[in-house]
């Protein structure tokens, strides 16, 4: 195999611009020439773009141009949790409308489940032009194997140009199976999607390294172009109950049902009345709350604001609160409208899980705590004084 990236020695002047932009520290300058460490290089092309002397060449495999003219429409996977359509699906319909407008194509909602026909109109009211419906008792519970089999079949039949799903536990478990089955490109956890109209391509933007870098990804030679999209990033379209659309019911064979996975039961977590990834407001407690019983205070503030309770790793590891509340690298990644960090110092592992929140409020005794670097509003003070006051004031303003 020929090497896929090369420094053209005659052109390289050893200026070091490429060294600075390389996100993988794969380039060094030796004897005034750039040298690329191929074991570190990810072939992302940042160096090639930065080089003012066209001294770096990347040999991307040339593919014969495929004809994709039969692929059309933007599909949205409709996710439901125990009979209720998830918010992320409506957000995706909103985004799909924008993409479909740029492509002059239609928005199609793919809706699987049991006894779901009555809900199809909601999807049309919220932006779908068509709903492909598969109503079957075996599809009542989300089992990724069954859903992937059915949807892969539908994709082969209808050939969508783009396929979107929420970057939820269900979405992420499902879509990778479909992408492998179809052999197409999938980009996880996108925070931005737009159409390159000239090339008729979906440009997908996603964070990597816990949001420290952003990558733009395309899938030019494969269809559909598949993405999972973060919750709370896209805007729901406004509801129009007069909107008209087509509902197509698909009958599928029993052979699509994989007998190897059996759903037994679902157990709702008592304290997580508000789902972390669904919440507009999250109030999180860290080591600074000093004791498990003080989570009551965090809960009370969260409740007052109609938000969810988050936690730092330290509090979870101390057994003060269950793991499902942990925000950060080894917990959940969240991006609410408002994130209130109480007694959290702001280690990088915590920051990567919440730094995409729109507004960050930090309450901490230590003025040098790193959390203040990402906070829009910081209060240096004792949380046991500040939080009760906050609860009081918010309750007053509600009245």
């Amino acid at each position: 195999m020929s090497d896929s990236i090369k420094v053209i020695v005659e052109k390289c002047i050893g200026c070091g611009l490429c060294v600075k932009v390389c996100p993988f520290s794969a380039i060094t300058i030796t004897n005034k020439k750039a040298i690329i460490d191929l074991t570190k290089c990810n072939l992302c092309g940042a160096c090639k773009d930065a080089c003012k002397f066209q001294a770096i060449a990347i040999f991307k495999p040339q593919m014969a141009k495929k004809d994709f003219s039969s692929y059309k429409d933007v599909w949205v996977f409709v996710e439901s949790e125990r009979g209720k359509i998830s918010g992320v699906s409506f957000e995706l319909l909103g985004k799909a409308r924008e993409l479909a407008a740029d492509l002059h194509s239609k928005v199609v909602a793919v809706f699987l489940g049991k006894d779901i026909k009555a809900k199809a109109q909601t999807l049309i009211s919220k932006g779908a032009d068509k709903v492909i419906l598969v109503d079957k008792p075996e599809l009542e519970n989300f089992i990724s194997e069954n859903y992937a089999n059915v949807i892969s079949h539908l994709i082969k039949k209808y050939k969508p140009e783009i396929f979107l799903a929420g970057a939820t536990t269900a979405g992420r478990s499902l879509v990778s199976r479909i992408a492998v089955t179809i052999y197409t490109g999938l980009t996880a956890d996108c925070t931005g999607l737009h159409i390159d109209k000239e090339k008729r391509l979906l440009v997908q933007t996603r964070p990597a390294f816990g949001g420290n870098i952003m990558a733009q990804i395309i899938s030019p030679n494969y269809r559909p172009q598949m993405s999972t999209v973060r919750h709370k990033v896209m805007q729901e379209a406004s509801e129009d109950t007069k909107r008209k659309g087509e509902i197509i019911e698909e009958i599928i064979e029993g052979s699509f049902i994989d007998g190897r996975v059996k759903f037994i039961e679902f157990i709702q977590e008592e304290i997580s009345k508000v789902n972390l990834s669904d919440a507009d407001i999250i109030v999180s407690g860290g080591r600074g709350i000093a004791d498990s019983k003080n989570f009551k205070l965090i809960e009370e503030l969260a409740q007052t604001l109609g938000g969810a309770v988050g936690a730092s790793r330290a509090t979870v590891d101390s057994g003060w609160i269950s793991y499902s509340h942990q925000v950060g690298q080894t917990g959940r990644t969240v991006a609410p409208k408002i994130y209130i960090a109480c007694g959290i110092s702001g280690q990088i592992q915590h920051l990567v899980g919440m730094q995409s929140s729109k507004i960050i409020v930090a309450i901490n005794k230590d003025p040098d705590a790193p959390i203040f670097k990402v906070a829009n509003y910081g209060i240096v003070g004792d949380l046991f004084t500040v939080i009760p006051l906050l609860i009081k004031k918010f309750k007053e303003t509600k009245k």
Partner: protein, 262 residues
């Protein structure tokens, strides 16, 4: 039982800093570690081995340096390690990565369980686990927080999966692939004996020639997705530190937040 654990070596995020001048990642001197979620996968394999008796094998795809990640897994009690390393694998996206791993797993053969971490801390995709399962046509259980029961006679495993609003219990027939979350266990520290053994143990390396692979499905060529641009996100707006008497400060904050709540 035969258990295969898939791991990835990643840069240690705790050491990743942003150069304030260039606004890029500083990765010089950043240590490589086993992806934090993969530590739980390794530990779960070792615990299952202790409970039911099992042969455990760890595999990783990466550059020759990934050898150190494999040795760490061995030191925790995994029996054997295989490194999948080849220039032809470079530039693989999640499709091509799961393809190579799946072929290696099939070559090992005769397994009952494949365990992966729920996602890697550098890419955060959570796609490779389900991708491997699909390439081999295995049933999968993602986000596993607990193994309730392993019935070796009926070849069925009962698991708890952590979801957004609670957890679900499922039964999956073996062989299967599962991805695990932190809640499942506490990874052990390697014992001195484990470390000694890991240092001297031979590690098998497989290149694309050792595996039944289609060349057009490898590396950049086999990857449907292409990275076209990498950039650092704009830094967050400079924040406001509210100072003064607690009452006044809280008033101010409530006033500011109300603007964002509408």
């Amino acid at each position: 039982m035969k258990i295969i654990v898939c791991i990835k070596q990643v840069p240690d995020t705790t050491e990743v800093r942003i150069n304030p001048e260039t606004n890029t990642l500083v990765r010089e001197g950043v240590a490589s570690i086993i992806n934090p979620f993969d530590m739980y996968a390794i530990e779960e394999a070792v615990q299952l081995k202790e409970k039911f008796g099992a042969e455990t094998i760890v595999i990783t795809m990466g550059p020759p340096q990934a050898d150190s990640a494999l040795r760490e897994a061995l030191s925790m009690g995994i029996d054997q390690a295989i490194l999948l390393s080849d220039r032809a694998f470079a530039g693989s996206d999640t499709w091509a990565t799961s393809y190579v791993l799946s072929r290696a797993i099939e070559k090992i053969g005769n397994f009952d369980l494949v365990i992966c971490g729920k996602q890697a801390s550098d890419g955060d995709t959570a796609q490779v686990g389900p991708g491997i399962a699909t390439h081999i046509n295995l049933p999968q259980a993602t986000y596993v927080r607990k193994v309730d029961n392993v019935d070796l006679e009926k070849k069925v495993i009962r698991l708890e999966r952590l979801l957004e609003e609670g957890y679900e219990i499922i039964e999956v027939s073996m062989p299967l692939l599962m991805t695990v979350v932190k809640e499942i266990n506490t990874p052990r520290l390697p014992s001195l004996r484990g470390k000694m053994r890991a240092r001297s143990q031979a590690i098998t390396t497989w290149t694309h020639k050792d595996l039944d692979l289609k060349e057009e499905s490898l590396g950049l060529k086999g990857s449907p997705t292409q990275v076209v641009k990498i950039f650092t996100p704009p830094p967050r707006e400079k924040g406001m530190i509210l100072e003064g008497e607690p009452e006044a400060v809280v008033d101010k904050l409530v006033g500011e937040l109300k603007k964002h709540l509408i």
